[in-house]
């Protein structure tokens, strides 16, 4: 960012009338192009250009011309922006805006647009890819056919000449040359065959080595020598077999036909799959837009909407409970260590912050084991026999306790900071006015603290609302009621969604995106309401 500081200042705004131009403006405007500034600018712009070139190659390869145009346009705009002395505010705003677009707006739009498709396992690619997959998967070896040794050759240049398969029948050691026209026997004298039966040289042909052949891999894989029973295809570079595709796509009926059984599967563009008359689907489908189907499934499917309200209630309770518990404990510690009479405060502060410094996912797994009924430390230490994670309320309590342990250092830190910002004179004054310690805390300190901390509490609430790890790594959402294995007692909406979308019938990204949109709406609504209330509170105490 050094570039902007040297190349342009507020000087651009100086009136150009001449008369009003003041000394400092002139100095700033005409100048200081320092060496460091220039170097930084060159290096950073060079990096931008380098990254653009690096990003361009895959775009060209994927023929994503729209993406390439955006890339070129943006890069040109960046160069223009930082090479002119104009548009100073934009120089500051553009980096942040680009980051915002790339990491916030694009993912949100992408998620929202996915919610209207059936994107997921079995529906990832387009229809053409599905047809290729179906046909490739149906190529089987013709029963009783010969297994040939294969040499890939050409009649022309190794890199570009027309391909020929030189195949050897292992039983008779007869050699044939095959191309799109079919098989032709080669006279014995014209070919040299090694002990494995593979042709090493043949008159009129150049045998490709593995390197040359693999450079033409796609052609070789697609190459088929027609035979009465099917076609001779390669199996790698040294073997060939006679195979036959039993399923073929016919454009006329937009269907896939099985040549062996005569069964047909017709394309269903609404479902993105080939469907037979009796409803049987081919596994390889493609991605299609499904409109609001994912959203209506959330609302109408009773196994989803049934436990939804209960899960939502617990989700809110968990988020509120976690925030309240961590805040209460954190504030208590902060207050205790705020007393100047306390000795060794620095040491205590370090000790209290320790849980915050440990990787939370590892701590969550440790806590899961601590709550184990037979081997866990909690039961052993207190001589209990509680099935912590197996009972509905004990599991919920355990999850909140773990969250409290993980989260209180954060609250302790922010509360300590906020407490230090409150002038001691205020509490002293209230003491002089005859307030007890509780009263002065309740009436003076706490309201002032809340003004500073409420926004943090709200963001902490939003974080805990979607605290996937806290539940998934400890209880996995359990315990589950005997009559419903999809929604457990400690499930948050996000873990519940994860199970619905990824836990069962493969990944269903479209459906998961739809539920994410719902959760987004719920969190946004709750946060908006709480922020409104905070604003009122601020007005009250400000």
């Amino acid at each position: 960012m050094a570039t902007q500081l040297t190349s342009a200042g507020p000087g651009r705004r100086a009136p150009h009338g001449g008369r009003h131009r003041t000394e400092p403006y002139i100095v700033r405007d005409s100048a200081p192009v320092t060496l460091t500034g220039l170097t930084a600018k060159v290096v950073l712009l060079g990096l931008a250009a380098g990254i653009a070139v690096w990003a361009a190659f895959p775009l060209v390869e994927a023929r994503a011309w729209a993406g390439l145009a955006i890339l070129a346009g943006t890069t040109a705009a960046i160069f223009y922006l930082y090479l002119t002395r104009r548009h100073v505010p934009a120089k500051y705003l553009v980096p942040g805006t680009l980051l915002l677009i790339a990491f916030q707006i694009f993912p949100i739009l992408y998620t929202a647009s996915t919610a209207f498709t059936n994107f997921g396992d079995g529906h990832r690619g387009n229809k053409a890819e599905a047809i290729v997959a179906i046909q490739t998967a149906s190529v089987t070896q013709v029963p009783g056919s010969t297994e040939y040794a294969l040499a890939v050759a050409t009649t022309g240049d190794p890199a570009t000449g027309p391909l020929v398969f030189l195949v050897t029948d292992p039983a008779t050691r007869a050699v044939y040359a095959g191309n799109a026209a079919g098989l032709r026997a080669l006279p014995e004298g014209e070919v040299t065959v090694n002990s494995a039966g593979k042709v090493t040289a043949a008159r009129g042909y150049t045998v490709l080595d593995a390197g040359q052949a693999s450079a033409r891999s796609a052609e070789i894989t697609a190459f088929a020598v027609p035979t009465p029973g099917g076609a001779i295809r390669s199996s790698g570079l040294s073997r060939a077999y006679e195979g036959k595709a039993t399923r073929e796509y016919a454009e006329a009926c937009d269907c896939v036909r099985d040549t062996a059984t005569g069964r047909t599967w017709t394309a269903d563009e609404g479902a993105g799959a080939f469907v037979a008359a009796d409803g049987e689907r081919l596994a390889q489908g493609w991605k299609v837009g499904v409109g609001l189907a994912n959203f209506s499934r959330v609302l109408t499917d009773s196994t989803i909407s049934g436990p939804f309200l209960r899960t939502l209630l617990w989700n809110v309770a968990f988020a509120v409970g976690s925030v309240a518990a961590t805040f209460a404990l954190g504030l208590l510690c902060a207050l205790a260590l705020h007393t100047p009479r306390m000795r060794g405060r620095a040491l205590y502060r370090v000790l209290l912050i320790l849980p915050y410094a440990m990787p939370s996912f590892a701590m969550l797994l440790v806590w899961r084991d601590l709550f184990n009924t037979d081997f866990g430390l909690v039961n052993r230490l207190f001589g209990l026999d509680v099935d912590w994670l197996g009972g509905v309320w004990s599991a919920r309590l355990a999850v909140v306790l773990v969250q409290m342990w993980l989260g209180f250092p954060y609250m302790f830190l922010v509360a300590t900071g906020a407490l230090q910002a409150i002038p001691r004179e205020l509490t002293e004054a209230s003491t002089v006015d005859g307030a007890g310690p509780w009263q002065s805390f309740r009436r003076v300190t706490l309201p002032l603290l809340m003004v500073a901390l409420t926004p943090l509490l709200i963001s902490s609430f939003a974080f805990n609302f979607n605290n996937f790890n806290a539940v998934y790594l400890t209880t996995e959402g359990g315990p589950f009621p005997a009559d419903n294995p999809t929604a457990g007692a400690t499930d948050l909406l996000i873990t519940y969604t994860f199970r619905l979308a990824f836990g069962a019938a493969g990944a269903q990204y479209g459906f998961a995106a739809a539920i994410s949109v719902f959760i987004f709406a719920i969190v946004a609504l709750l946060s908006a309401v709480s922020f409104r209330r905070t604003r009122r509170q601020e007005e009250l105490y400000a």
Binding site: T74, A137, L365, D374
Partner: protein, 411 residues
């Protein structure tokens, strides 16, 4: 500014479906040098594969790269394949096949009759899906009963024997648990399956061609309810042999700490058991007295040819014609001791590792772990039902709720 440009390029490549990570280096220079084969494997196998990949590269004048995918291999592979940045060859478990096929991520591998004959029958059956061979198997695995021979010198013939021995040891304070079979709060269908099968339950029926039939769901049938009644009797409200407090994270550790005499686990547990210096032996998981055999699931690790790979001909050559040599299977066995699927390789390592034969004997009548995509719908509800029933829940209600959830997802 750099960050902005980076973010921009991320955004644009993201929507253009361009290449992140490995694909980007597919430069024209590499092509001119004679082609390049990219193999993806997990951490342990990457190291074992490298020498063979290099040898294959030298013999054929091509570059072979083995890249390590540490986590979520299947998802990474499917997503990368779709974007065109996937590998040419993938290494993974056979029960991925159903999902990989429905996503058009792998191609069939055409093996000759002679090549097929080299593999253990069950391994070949595992990689066969809809009548096509989709991968070249290299290792097999299944659970067995591992026992501490100091505590239990005799292999139990039945579950009842096992429970009796376990209870006696518990009464004598020699052990604190009857059996270490991982259940956990969410259940574990894979480890429970031998007992469930012995008690008469099944997950999917088999069609005429021996393939699993997703329309014949075994969960929710009267036989499955009866099977779970027997499981419940072993649970927390019964004998106490099956407990939710024993899960994946502590079952092996509890066994190696000599707190239980019996462990149901697979070859992956042996390293820990050996390290603990226990006297142990391996036998098949016993069944219920008068019940069906306790068949474990047999899983297979395999090499796949990626359908969207850039060098499929070379990938086919590597997988179908090069991997069928025993040397590689032996090297992979040394990287992680799972029984090789290639009979010749198995015979070679069997002499130095007696455990292999015992594991294979335990899995001889095993059921191939279903690879059909519908199996994904089973794991979670079945496990939850298992945990609830072991905790003492009513069997019929629980099993029927699980069956309803599963069939709702299969549709």
């Amino acid at each position: 500014m750099v960050a902005a440009a980076l973010a921009l390029s991320l955004a644009t490549t993201g929507c253009g479906g361009g290449g992140d990570e490995p694909a980007a280096s597919d430069s024209p220079a590499a092509k001119a040098a004679g082609g390049r084969l990219v193999i993806w494997a997990d951490t342990k196998r990457t190291a074992a594969l490298k020498p063979f990949a290099d040898r294959f590269g030298q013999e054929n004048g091509v570059t072979v790269e083995v890249q390590e995918i540490a986590d979520e291999q299947q998802t990474t592979f499917v997503t990368a394949s779709q974007q065109g940045s996937g590998p040419d060859v993938m290494v993974g478990a056979h029960d991925w096949i159903g999902n990989l096929v429905q996503n058009g991520a792998i191609d069939p591998v055409q093996l000759s009759a002679e090549q097929k004959a080299g593999f253990a029958e069950i391994a070949l059956k595992a990689v066969t899906f809809n009548g096509q061979v989709y991968g070249v198997p290299y290792a097999m695995e299944n659970v067995a009963l591992i026992r501490n021979t100091d505590l239990a010198p005799q292999a139990p013939a039945t579950v009842e024997d096992l429970v009796a021995t376990g209870k006696r040891l518990k009464a004598e304070k020699k052990a604190s648990e009857i059996l270490c079979l991982q259940v956990g709060q969410s259940g574990d269908a894979y480890h429970l399956y031998p007992l469930y099968a012995s008690a008469g339950g099944y997950l999917f029926g088999t069609g005429a061609n021996g393939d699993y039939d997703p329309k014949d769901l075994g969960v929710g049938t009267p036989a499955s309810v009866a099977a779970f009644e027997k499981i419940r009797a072993l649970g927390e409200k019964g004998e106490g042999a099956l407990k939710r407090s024993i899960g994946g994270e502590n079952s092996i550790a509890t066994f190696t700490a000599k707190k239980c005499a019996f462990l149901v686990s697979g070859p992956w547990a042996i390293t820990d058991v050996k390290k603990a210096g226990l006297a142990y032996d391996i036998s098949p998981v016993p069944g219920f007295a008068g019940g069906k055999p306790a068949t474990p699931f047999v899983g297979v690790q395999a090499f796949y040819v990626a359908a969207k790979g850039k060098n499929k001909a070379l990938a086919q050559e590597f997988v179908a014609n090069y991997l069928t040599v025993p040397d590689l299977a032996v090297a992979l066995y040394k990287a992680e001791p799972r029984p090789p699927a290639l009979t010749a390789a198995f015979d070679q390592v069997k002499a130095e590792d007696a455990d292999l034969d015992k594991f294979q004997a335990a899995g001889r009548d095993g059921a191939v772990l279903p690879a059909i995509p519908e199996m994904a719908a089973i794991w979670d509800p079945f496990g939850k039902a298992e945990a609830a029933i072991i905790g003492g829940a009513d069997v019929a209600t629980t099993v029927n709720a699980a069956a309803k959830t599963i069939s709702g997802q299969i549709k």
